[in-house]
Protein backbone atom coordinates (compact mmCIF):
# COMPACT_ATOMS: atom_id res chain seq x y z
CA UNK A 1 0.00 0.00 0.00
CA UNK A 2 1.38 3.45 -0.95
CA UNK A 3 1.66 6.24 1.60
CA UNK A 4 -1.00 8.95 1.16
CA UNK A 5 0.39 12.22 -0.18
CA UNK A 6 0.67 15.29 2.08
CA UNK A 7 -2.00 16.95 -0.05
CA UNK A 8 -4.38 14.06 0.54
CA UNK A 9 -3.72 14.29 4.32
CA UNK A 10 -4.27 18.01 4.25
CA UNK A 11 -7.62 17.58 2.46
CA UNK A 12 -8.60 14.79 4.87
CA UNK A 13 -7.82 16.96 7.91
CA UNK A 14 -10.05 19.72 6.60
CA UNK A 15 -12.78 17.14 6.15
CA UNK A 16 -12.17 15.72 9.65
CA UNK A 17 -12.67 19.16 11.12
CA UNK A 18 -15.82 19.70 9.05
CA UNK A 19 -17.13 16.29 10.17
CA UNK A 20 -16.69 17.30 13.81
CA UNK A 21 -18.78 20.39 13.10
CA UNK A 22 -21.36 18.42 11.11
CA UNK A 23 -20.57 20.60 8.11
CA UNK A 24 -20.75 19.28 4.55
CA UNK A 25 -17.70 17.28 3.48
CA UNK A 26 -16.81 14.40 1.19
CA UNK A 27 -17.50 11.60 3.67
CA UNK A 28 -16.64 8.74 1.28
CA UNK A 29 -13.27 10.25 0.36
CA UNK A 30 -12.46 10.89 4.02
CA UNK A 31 -13.34 7.35 5.08
CA UNK A 32 -11.27 5.93 2.23
CA UNK A 33 -8.32 8.09 3.29
CA UNK A 34 -8.63 7.07 6.95
CA UNK A 35 -8.43 3.40 5.98
CA UNK A 36 -5.05 4.03 4.33
CA UNK A 37 -3.55 6.72 6.63
CA UNK A 38 -2.50 5.88 10.19
CA UNK A 39 -1.51 9.45 11.05
CA UNK A 40 -4.94 10.83 10.14
CA UNK A 41 -6.65 7.99 12.03
CA UNK A 42 -4.61 8.92 15.10
CA UNK A 43 -5.59 12.59 14.66
CA UNK A 44 -9.24 11.58 14.41
CA UNK A 45 -8.94 9.69 17.75
CA UNK A 46 -7.19 12.61 19.44
CA UNK A 47 -9.78 15.09 18.20
CA UNK A 48 -12.56 12.84 19.46
CA UNK A 49 -10.92 12.75 22.92
CA UNK A 50 -11.04 16.56 23.08
CA UNK A 51 -14.78 16.76 22.41
CA UNK A 52 -15.97 16.12 26.00
CA UNK A 53 -13.38 18.59 27.31
CA UNK A 54 -15.19 21.46 25.59
CA UNK A 55 -18.35 20.81 27.57
CA UNK A 56 -16.27 20.47 30.75
CA UNK A 57 -15.05 24.05 30.36
CA UNK A 58 -16.70 26.28 32.95
CA UNK A 59 -19.16 28.90 31.81
CA UNK A 60 -17.74 32.32 32.60
CA UNK A 61 -19.14 33.94 35.72
CA UNK A 62 -22.02 36.42 35.30
CA UNK A 63 -20.91 39.72 33.81
CA UNK A 64 -20.25 42.42 36.41
CA UNK A 65 -22.03 45.76 35.99
CA UNK A 66 -19.47 47.70 34.01
CA UNK A 67 -21.73 50.59 32.98
CA UNK A 68 -20.54 53.01 35.70
CA UNK A 69 -16.93 52.40 34.63
CA UNK A 70 -17.81 52.83 30.94
CA UNK A 71 -19.73 56.03 31.63
CA UNK A 72 -16.82 57.41 33.64
CA UNK A 73 -14.49 56.79 30.70
CA UNK A 74 -16.70 58.50 28.13
CA UNK A 75 -15.28 61.78 26.85
CA UNK A 76 -16.63 64.74 28.82
CA UNK A 77 -17.91 66.65 25.79
CA UNK A 78 -20.72 65.24 23.71
CA UNK A 79 -19.79 64.32 20.22
CA UNK A 80 -20.81 66.93 17.67
CA UNK A 81 -24.29 66.45 16.38
CA UNK A 82 -25.13 66.60 12.73
CA UNK A 83 -24.63 70.11 11.37
CA UNK A 84 -28.15 70.22 9.98
CA UNK A 85 -29.66 69.23 13.35
CA UNK A 86 -27.68 71.99 15.05
CA UNK A 87 -28.74 74.53 12.47
CA UNK A 88 -32.38 73.48 12.89
CA UNK A 89 -32.05 73.97 16.65
CA UNK A 90 -30.36 77.36 16.17
CA UNK A 91 -33.08 78.43 13.75
CA UNK A 92 -35.83 77.34 16.16
CA UNK A 93 -34.16 79.26 18.99
CA UNK A 94 -33.83 82.31 16.78
CA UNK A 95 -37.48 82.20 15.72
CA UNK A 96 -38.50 81.86 19.35
CA UNK A 97 -36.26 84.73 20.37
CA UNK A 98 -37.54 87.03 17.63
CA UNK A 99 -41.13 86.09 18.31
CA UNK A 100 -40.73 86.89 21.98
CA UNK A 101 -38.88 90.08 21.11
CA UNK A 102 -41.63 91.27 18.75
CA UNK A 103 -44.36 90.27 21.17
CA UNK A 104 -42.60 92.21 23.93
CA UNK A 105 -42.34 95.26 21.75
CA UNK A 106 -45.97 95.01 20.76
CA UNK A 107 -47.05 94.88 24.38
CA UNK A 108 -44.78 97.67 25.60
CA UNK A 109 -45.01 100.05 22.70
CA UNK A 110 -47.53 102.65 21.83
CA UNK A 111 -48.53 102.42 18.17
CA UNK A 112 -45.73 104.03 16.18
CA UNK A 113 -46.26 106.67 13.55
CA UNK A 114 -45.80 105.26 10.05
CA UNK A 115 -42.70 107.44 9.53
CA UNK A 116 -41.00 105.77 12.51
CA UNK A 117 -41.86 102.34 11.19
CA UNK A 118 -40.37 103.27 7.83
CA UNK A 119 -37.25 104.59 9.54
CA UNK A 120 -36.87 101.26 11.46
CA UNK A 121 -37.11 99.22 8.26
CA UNK A 122 -34.53 101.43 6.60
CA UNK A 123 -32.13 101.24 9.55
CA UNK A 124 -28.83 99.44 8.91
CA UNK A 125 -29.44 95.68 9.15
CA UNK A 126 -26.57 95.20 11.59
CA UNK A 127 -28.63 97.00 14.22
CA UNK A 128 -31.33 94.29 14.21
CA UNK A 129 -30.66 91.81 17.02
CA UNK A 130 -30.94 88.65 14.88
CA UNK A 131 -28.82 90.20 12.15
CA UNK A 132 -26.26 91.18 14.76
CA UNK A 133 -26.11 87.52 15.78
CA UNK A 134 -25.84 86.28 12.20
CA UNK A 135 -23.14 88.79 11.39
CA UNK A 136 -21.07 88.17 14.50
CA UNK A 137 -17.66 86.61 13.88
CA UNK A 138 -18.26 84.03 16.65
CA UNK A 139 -21.42 82.79 14.93
CA UNK A 140 -19.64 82.51 11.58
CA UNK A 141 -16.71 80.75 13.21
CA UNK A 142 -19.10 78.30 14.86
CA UNK A 143 -20.76 77.58 11.51
CA UNK A 144 -17.46 77.06 9.75
CA UNK A 145 -16.27 74.63 12.41
CA UNK A 146 -19.34 72.44 12.38
CA UNK A 147 -18.46 69.14 10.73
CA UNK A 148 -20.29 68.09 7.61
CA UNK A 149 -22.07 64.79 8.01
CA UNK A 150 -23.91 62.33 5.81
CA UNK A 151 -27.13 64.03 6.87
CA UNK A 152 -25.99 67.28 5.22
CA UNK A 153 -25.35 65.62 1.87
Amino acid sequence: MTEPSPTACSTARLALSARLDREPHDAAALDAHLVRCGACRELERELARLVPAWSALEEPEAAPDLWPAIEARLPAARRPRARSALLARAAAALVGFLGAHQAGLALEREPEPRTHLLARWLAPPALEPHRLLAASPEYRLLLSRLPHTEEDR
Binding site: R13, L20, L47, A56, P60, W67, A69, I70, A82
Partner: protein, 186 residues
Protein backbone atom coordinates in the same frame (compact mmCIF):
# COMPACT_ATOMS: atom_id res chain seq x y z
CA UNK B 1 -34.82 43.75 9.56
CA UNK B 2 -32.14 44.42 12.13
CA UNK B 3 -33.84 45.02 15.51
CA UNK B 4 -30.91 47.21 16.58
CA UNK B 5 -31.04 49.59 13.62
CA UNK B 6 -32.64 52.44 15.53
CA UNK B 7 -30.18 51.93 18.38
CA UNK B 8 -27.31 52.09 15.88
CA UNK B 9 -28.64 55.36 14.45
CA UNK B 10 -28.92 56.91 17.90
CA UNK B 11 -25.42 55.77 18.73
CA UNK B 12 -24.17 57.36 15.52
CA UNK B 13 -25.73 60.62 16.71
CA UNK B 14 -23.69 60.35 19.90
CA UNK B 15 -26.54 59.65 22.31
CA UNK B 16 -25.15 58.36 25.59
CA UNK B 17 -28.48 56.85 26.53
CA UNK B 18 -28.24 54.70 23.42
CA UNK B 19 -24.84 53.46 24.57
CA UNK B 20 -26.34 52.50 27.90
CA UNK B 21 -29.09 50.61 26.09
CA UNK B 22 -26.51 48.88 23.90
CA UNK B 23 -24.61 47.86 27.03
CA UNK B 24 -27.77 46.51 28.65
CA UNK B 25 -28.66 44.53 25.52
CA UNK B 26 -25.26 43.25 24.48
CA UNK B 27 -22.95 43.77 27.48
CA UNK B 28 -23.26 40.22 28.82
CA UNK B 29 -22.41 38.69 25.44
CA UNK B 30 -19.44 41.02 24.92
CA UNK B 31 -18.20 40.24 28.44
CA UNK B 32 -18.50 36.48 27.92
CA UNK B 33 -16.63 36.64 24.63
CA UNK B 34 -13.86 38.79 26.13
CA UNK B 35 -13.64 36.44 29.11
CA UNK B 36 -13.30 33.40 26.87
CA UNK B 37 -10.83 34.99 24.48
CA UNK B 38 -8.67 36.72 27.05
CA UNK B 39 -8.85 34.25 29.92
CA UNK B 40 -8.70 36.53 32.94
CA UNK B 41 -11.68 38.32 34.45
CA UNK B 42 -9.72 41.54 35.01
CA UNK B 43 -8.62 41.57 31.35
CA UNK B 44 -12.17 40.88 30.22
CA UNK B 45 -13.54 43.74 32.35
CA UNK B 46 -11.11 46.19 30.86
CA UNK B 47 -11.67 44.91 27.33
CA UNK B 48 -15.46 45.06 27.67
CA UNK B 49 -15.25 48.71 28.72
CA UNK B 50 -12.95 49.48 25.81
CA UNK B 51 -15.26 47.72 23.34
CA UNK B 52 -18.19 49.92 24.37
CA UNK B 53 -16.05 53.05 24.25
CA UNK B 54 -14.97 52.04 20.73
CA UNK B 55 -18.59 51.36 19.83
CA UNK B 56 -19.51 54.91 20.85
CA UNK B 57 -16.60 56.33 18.93
CA UNK B 58 -17.15 54.29 15.76
CA UNK B 59 -20.92 53.92 15.63
CA UNK B 60 -21.12 56.37 12.73
CA UNK B 61 -19.12 53.93 10.60
CA UNK B 62 -21.75 51.18 10.98
CA UNK B 63 -23.14 50.83 7.46
CA UNK B 64 -25.91 48.32 8.10
CA UNK B 65 -24.51 45.71 5.72
CA UNK B 66 -24.20 43.24 8.61
CA UNK B 67 -26.51 43.12 11.60
CA UNK B 68 -25.53 45.46 14.39
CA UNK B 69 -24.96 42.51 16.77
CA UNK B 70 -22.61 40.87 14.23
CA UNK B 71 -20.77 44.14 13.77
CA UNK B 72 -20.38 44.51 17.55
CA UNK B 73 -19.24 40.88 17.76
CA UNK B 74 -16.59 41.60 15.14
CA UNK B 75 -15.52 44.75 17.00
CA UNK B 76 -15.14 42.65 20.17
CA UNK B 77 -13.19 39.83 18.52
CA UNK B 78 -10.85 42.31 16.79
CA UNK B 79 -10.31 44.19 20.01
CA UNK B 80 -9.48 40.99 21.90
CA UNK B 81 -7.17 39.77 19.13
CA UNK B 82 -5.41 43.13 19.21
CA UNK B 83 -4.96 42.85 22.99
CA UNK B 84 -3.70 39.27 22.69
CA UNK B 85 -1.23 40.27 20.01
CA UNK B 86 0.04 43.16 22.13
CA UNK B 87 0.38 40.79 25.07
CA UNK B 88 2.23 38.26 22.91
CA UNK B 89 4.70 40.90 21.76
CA UNK B 90 5.17 42.15 25.31
CA UNK B 91 5.83 38.62 26.53
CA UNK B 92 8.26 37.97 23.70
CA UNK B 93 10.21 40.97 24.97
CA UNK B 94 9.97 40.13 28.63
CA UNK B 95 9.70 36.36 29.00
CA UNK B 96 12.78 34.75 30.43
CA UNK B 97 13.38 31.00 30.79
CA UNK B 98 11.66 29.65 33.89
CA UNK B 99 8.98 32.34 34.00
CA UNK B 100 5.39 31.19 34.29
CA UNK B 101 2.89 31.80 31.56
CA UNK B 102 1.11 35.06 32.45
CA UNK B 103 -1.77 34.21 30.13
CA UNK B 104 -2.40 30.77 31.56
CA UNK B 105 -5.81 30.96 33.17
CA UNK B 106 -4.95 28.35 35.79
CA UNK B 107 -7.54 28.35 38.57
CA UNK B 108 -6.83 29.71 42.00
CA UNK B 109 -5.67 26.95 44.39
CA UNK B 110 -8.92 26.83 46.32
CA UNK B 111 -11.00 26.42 43.18
CA UNK B 112 -8.97 23.77 41.39
CA UNK B 113 -10.80 20.86 42.98
CA UNK B 114 -14.20 22.25 42.00
CA UNK B 115 -13.45 22.24 38.32
CA UNK B 116 -13.34 19.35 35.97
CA UNK B 117 -9.78 18.41 35.11
CA UNK B 118 -10.44 18.12 31.39
CA UNK B 119 -11.88 21.61 31.35
CA UNK B 120 -8.91 23.03 33.25
CA UNK B 121 -6.46 21.35 30.92
CA UNK B 122 -8.32 22.56 27.85
CA UNK B 123 -8.43 26.12 29.21
CA UNK B 124 -4.68 26.10 29.69
CA UNK B 125 -4.11 24.60 26.23
CA UNK B 126 -6.32 27.26 24.67
CA UNK B 127 -4.26 29.96 26.37
CA UNK B 128 -1.18 28.60 24.63
CA UNK B 129 -2.67 28.73 21.14
CA UNK B 130 -2.05 31.64 18.81
CA UNK B 131 -4.71 34.38 19.09
CA UNK B 132 -6.08 33.46 15.65
CA UNK B 133 -6.48 29.80 16.51
CA UNK B 134 -7.89 30.53 19.94
CA UNK B 135 -10.46 32.94 18.49
CA UNK B 136 -11.75 30.57 15.82
CA UNK B 137 -12.07 27.68 18.31
CA UNK B 138 -13.79 29.82 20.94
CA UNK B 139 -16.26 31.12 18.34
CA UNK B 140 -17.03 27.62 17.10
CA UNK B 141 -16.87 25.41 20.19
CA UNK B 142 -18.00 27.80 22.92
CA UNK B 143 -20.00 30.51 21.19
CA UNK B 144 -21.40 27.83 18.86
CA UNK B 145 -21.42 30.08 15.81
CA UNK B 146 -21.89 28.67 12.33
CA UNK B 147 -19.07 28.92 9.79
CA UNK B 148 -20.90 31.82 8.14
CA UNK B 149 -21.23 33.66 11.44
CA UNK B 150 -17.57 33.10 12.26
CA UNK B 151 -16.64 34.36 8.81
CA UNK B 152 -18.67 37.51 9.43
CA UNK B 153 -17.15 37.99 12.89
CA UNK B 154 -13.59 37.60 11.68
CA UNK B 155 -14.20 39.30 8.31
CA UNK B 156 -12.71 36.35 6.41
CA UNK B 157 -14.18 33.97 3.80
CA UNK B 158 -15.90 30.77 4.94
CA UNK B 159 -13.11 28.72 3.34
CA UNK B 160 -10.60 30.46 5.59
CA UNK B 161 -12.74 29.63 8.62
CA UNK B 162 -12.71 25.95 7.63
CA UNK B 163 -8.96 25.76 7.15
CA UNK B 164 -8.22 27.87 10.23
CA UNK B 165 -10.43 25.61 12.35
CA UNK B 166 -8.71 22.50 11.06
CA UNK B 167 -5.26 23.96 11.78
CA UNK B 168 -6.36 25.21 15.21
CA UNK B 169 -7.62 21.75 16.13
CA UNK B 170 -4.39 20.13 15.01
CA UNK B 171 -2.41 22.67 17.04
CA UNK B 172 -4.56 21.92 20.09
CA UNK B 173 -4.04 18.19 19.67
CA UNK B 174 -0.26 18.68 19.37
CA UNK B 175 -0.23 20.71 22.59
CA UNK B 176 -2.28 18.03 24.34
CA UNK B 177 0.15 15.24 23.43
CA UNK B 178 2.37 14.15 26.31
CA UNK B 179 5.98 15.29 25.85
CA UNK B 180 8.17 12.69 24.20
CA UNK B 181 10.86 11.66 26.70
CA UNK B 182 14.35 12.43 25.50
CA UNK B 183 16.47 9.33 25.09
CA UNK B 184 19.92 9.45 26.63
CA UNK B 185 22.85 8.55 24.51
CA UNK B 186 24.29 5.10 25.12
Amino acid sequence: MDPDLDLARRLARGEREALREAYELHGARVWRLCRRLLGRASEAEDATQEVFLKLFERAASFDGRARFSTWLHRLTVNHCLHRLEKERLRRADELRPGDGDPCDPAPEPGRALERDEAGIELASLLARLSPEHRAVLVLRELEELSYQEIAASLAVPVGTVMSRLARAREALVRLARPPVPLRGRP
